[in-house]
């Protein structure tokens, strides 16, 4: 079953006085099946973040559509967009985005409280998730009292607690040391194995090698994609690496062509 379908997405940023235009996404189309784990890779400026922001309904595309479970999120009104985001999407950010004014537990509860859930229900939902993410012991602490890895696991718990259709992760390992990054990546893999659909944007080859499919973005277009299928992580790592080299070389070729 297709959970996310993106058709001919285009995004053009216009500078403040309209004098120059930057095309962030020129024509992006792809789809994500339920239970998939997709990584999107690309260099800085390739449009990764723009794409993620549009899927997250934080930004509107210039043209094209984003279908989540068949519903076009581009046309959802401003009023309903927040509750839609709350009910269907879970977010994990590079800089965690935890609120210092809340304890770890309250940070995880935040989206549920916004939905108006009762304390007992929230508590019942939190217990298994906290156990799975190994954060049961730090629930009463505050974000500034715990490590980066724990912060990111808290963010993952916050994303999971609403049982979203899709988890969107923006460079989730970007601010973590390699050990925490590894444990977070295997965590994502576990979650995915339990049936959770994950869409991750990343720079890191290692992070991408955990995904079942990797999409490569260049100059606002899907340039290439790789399926992991039966490959091991090491094989996948090598393959992604190669593709990135080709990608970079391709960019060079293009430049050389221009010069000629």
């Amino acid at each position: 079953m297709t959970i996310l379908e993106i058709n001919n997405l285009k995004k053009i940023y216009t500078t403040r006085f309209g004098s120059s235009k930057v095309q962030a996404l020129s024509n992006v189309s792809f789809s994500v099946e339920k239970g998939e784990y997709v990584a999107i890779m690309g260099e800085s400026g390739s449009g990764k973040t723009t794409l993620l922001n549009i899927i997250a309904s934080l930004d509107k595309p210039t043209s094209g559509e984003v279908l989540l479970n068949g519903q076009n999120i581009v046309s959802i009104s401003e009023k309903e967009i927040s509750s839609f985001r709350r009910d269907n999407l879970g977010f994990v950010f590079q800089d965690f985005n935890l609120l210092d004014t809340f304890s770890i537990q309250d940070n995880i509860y935040l989206p549920l409280v916004l939905c108006g859930k009762s304390y007992d229900e929230m508590n019942a939902r939190l217990k298994p998730i906290a156990a799975k993410l190994d954060i049961s012991d730090i629930l009463s602490k505050y974000p500034y009292e715990v490590s980066g890895g724990q912060k990111q696991r808290t963010a993952v718990a916050r994303a999971l607690i609403t049982t979203p259709q899709l988890i969107l992760a923006d460079e989730p390992t970007g601010a973590l040391d390699s050990k925490s990054a590894d444990s977070l990546l295997s965590l994502f893999e576990n979650i995915n194995n339990e049936g959770q659909t994950v869409l991750m944007v990343t720079h890191s080859i290692k992070a991408a090698s955990h995904a079942k499919r990797v999409l490569f973005l260049r100059d606002g277009e899907v340039f290439h994609q790789l399926y992991k299928a039966n490959m091991t992580k090491q094989e996948m790592f090598a393959k992604i690496s190669d593709t990135l080299t080709v990608l970079a070389a391709g960019a060079n070729n293009k430049q050389e062509n221009k010069i000629k």
Binding site: S82, G116, M122, Y144
Partner: protein, 662 residues
């Protein structure tokens, strides 16, 4: 590096930090201006020519000192705020290769620019407005004099010296902060202190006790004399209580709310309570400052306005009739002579009297043991056991009240003010039956007994009976051999004619040798009106003036709080939106918090005023102002006006806040 580089950097720093520097410069200008105007008034020649100029000068010197102290505290506060905000910038400069000495130089130039702008701008505004201010003061004091445009060199010099000293101290303080900071600390300077506040139960409870005992004193104090002494204690307790409750009490309360899971985990309460916890930690002291300042503005303006408007009342309380003659220990016959002299003087000056009151009476201090009354000698008047007693003969009472009461020889009619007595009263073993009266029929106010909080008023069968009682209990050196006499009347002529009449009566009585009395005193309300006017008008002027200064301070603190809150909230605002709060939801929770934070001090100030109301009326009573309704109106008017200004300031600064956040 060229010398110009520092200057350029300093100028661009000021421009870049305009949001913080501009109000700081404005404050400097404002305080310099007010300081100059105060100095100008007390050094002014025109004022010196006024009657009662001594009072005005004393009041204005007092005002100058207050403004001076306040200006330094306040400029320090704004400057430290500025430095705190800029620590990151200093850190960056430091890392880019400017050492602390270079930084100190740049800061020195910045301070110099601010000081110059403040002093020049303030002095110019002060010179410009000083004439207006002195005109207003003259108008308030009903004093007609044309003041030319003047610049007081003396005032300029004082202002200059005082403020240069303040600015130098501020600069030294900045250097101190800079000196003790490490670059890395500078870089993260404004990020420290994000930890969750601890609950300080002891402080919270102490605050509550302090505040409540302050309120208790204010509400239970009944006597004006006690009010003067206790007022400062009550004020001190309330100030301590306010600070402690804002700092510790607010956090304790929020934590209790947070522990209540059913309440806390609701969409509206969740973000608000946790946000408030954080805000109160950051802002408690600032908010308590605003609260205390607001209370000061409210008390000062409402009392001085009331005193000024209630001037006539106060004079009337002091002198129930326009012109009064009081004679101590005078015989009935001599009273007749006295009456004749006064009436002759009245007819000579072709004046007529209205509402004439003539009253024979005797008053002295007694000490009460149950129902037995004994004499109190002169030395121990202030003893708490002493009660004032007033005796009026029955025929005088009946004559003045047009009544026809009668008394047996062993009976006394008694009116009690804040005292109690049984059905019998004993004077030196002699027993009298008491008949209680519920109204003093306005007689007490003609005698000095009106200054007492509690007294006994007796109506005795005859003058002889009164003297018998007096002689039976009086000590050896009893001063009265006869009753006292009061003769008071109103006139319908203007102030000048009243004064003339007053002088004529005075001379006539002094020249007459036929009257035998211990002491004759002639009083006229008009004779002290000017004195009262200079004191009350001067205080009124000072009250408004300081009120404006404190208001300015309040406004500035609110502005700085709003702006700094804005920068702190920006990030939280973004995260909440990413997590799934809509723009309107975030807006409404932020609005609730901001509104609570900024209107809390105002609400607390109004509660303070309400609690202080009774005590202030007692203080005013000590100043002969008994018109409680007038004071209530003054308070109400001041509170409404202040709240409106407060709300206006809030909405203006809120705009700056939302601009930053969005």
């Amino acid at each position: 590096m060229s010398k110009m580089f520092y200057a350029k950097l300093a100028v661009s720093n000021i421009k870049k930090n305009g949001k913080f520097y501009f109000p700081y410069i404005l404050t400097s200008i404002g305080t310099v201006m007010m300081f100059y105007i105060m100095c100008f008034i007390f050094t002014n020649d025109g004022i010196s020519k006024m009657t009662g100029s001594v009072y005005i000068k004393t009041i204005m010197i007092f005002g100058t000192v207050i403004i001076g102290i306040f200006a330094s505290i306040f400029l320090f506060y704004t400057n430290s705020f500025l430095i705190k905000r800029r620590k990151k910038e200093f850190g960056l400069f430091n890392i880019l290769g400017m050492d602390k000495r270079n930084l100190a130089r740049v800061l020195g130039i910045e301070n110099l620019i601010v000081a110059a702008a403040g002093l020049i701008g303030g002095l110019l505004c002060g010179i410009l407005f000083s004439r207006l201010m002195i005109m207003i003061l003259a108008k308030l004091l009903k004093f007609n004099i044309s003041f030319g445009f003047q610049i007081s060199i003396y005032a300029v010099a004082i202002t200059f010296i005082v403020f240069i000293a303040i600015f130098i101290l501020i600069y030294l303080n900045t250097l101190r902060q800079l000196h003790f900071a490490k670059p890395i600390e500078l870089l993260y300077g404004s990020n420290v202190g994000e930890r969750e506040p601890k609950t300080k139960w002891v402080l919270a409870i102490m605050g509550a006790i302090s505040l409540l005992s302050g309120y208790f004193i204010a509400i239970t104090t009944d006597s004006p004399l006690a009010a003067i002494g206790l007022f400062f204690i009550a004020v001190l307790l309330v100030i301590i209580g306010t600070y402690l409750l804002f700092i510790a009490g607010s956090i304790a309360l929020l934590k209790i709310l947070r522990k209540n899971k059913g309440y806390y985990y609701q969409t509206n309460h969740f973000t608000t309570i946790s946000g408030m916890l954080y805000r109160m930690k950051q802002n408690a002291v600032g908010l308590a400052n605003i609260c205390i300042l607001s209370t000061m503005v409210l008390v000062m303006i409402s009392t001085t306005v009331c005193m000024y408007l209630g001037l006539d009342d106060a004079l009337r309380n002091l002198y129930p009739r326009n012109i009064e003659v009081t004679a101590q220990s005078i015989s009935v016959q001599d009273c007749q002579y006295l009456n004749e002299i006064i009436e002759k003087t009245l007819s000579e000056s072709k004046n007529s009297s209205i509402d004439t009151i003539k009253l024979r009476y005797l008053n002295f201090m007694v000490s009460q043991k149950e129902d037995s009354l004994s004499f109190v000698s002169n030395g121990v008047y202030l003893n708490n056991e002493a009660t004032a007693a007033l005796f009026i003969p029955l025929d005088e009472y009946n004559r003045i009240n047009n009544s026809s009461l009668s008394l047996k020889e062993n009976e006394l009619i008694v009116f009690l003010k804040k005292t109690a007595i049984g059905n019998n009263v004993t004077f030196a073993d002699k027993n009298y039956k008491t008949i209680k009266l519920t109204d003093d029929t306005g007689l007490a106010k003609y005698t000095s007994i009106k200054y007492s909080d509690n007294y006994l008023m007796f109506i005795a069968p005859s003058e002889k009976a009164i003297m018998n009682i007096y002689n039976s209990i009086a000590l050896d050196k009893a001063s009265n051999t006869n009753l006292n006499y009061y003769y008071g009347f109103d006139t319908n002529v203007n102030s000048a004619s009243q004064l003339e009449l007053y002088n004529n009566i005075n001379t006539a009585l002094n020249n007459s040798k036929s009257i035998h009395s211990d002491q004759i005193y002639v009083g006229c309300a008009e004779s002290i009106r000017e004195e009262f006017l200079t004191i009350y008008g001067g205080l009124f002027f000072l009250g408004i003036f300081l009120g404006i200064l404190f208001m300015m301070a309040t406004v500035l603190i609110i502005y700085y709080k709003q702006v700094s809150e804005g920068y702190d909230d920006k990030q939280r605002f973004e995260i909440m939106q990413k997590v799934g709060m809509s723009r309107t939801e975030v807006r409404s929770t932020v609005k609730t918090q901001v509104l609570t934070v900024f209107f809390l001090p105002l609400i607390a100030a109004v509660i303070h005023i309400a609690a202080a109301f009774k005590m202030i009326t007692k203080l005013l009573e000590a100043l002969n102002l008994t018109n409680i309704i007038l004071f209530a109106w003054c308070v109400l008017g001041t509170v409404v006006a202040f709240s409106l200004i407060y709300a206006l300031v809030y909405s203006l600064t809120a705009r700056a806040y939302y601009k930053i956040v969005e």
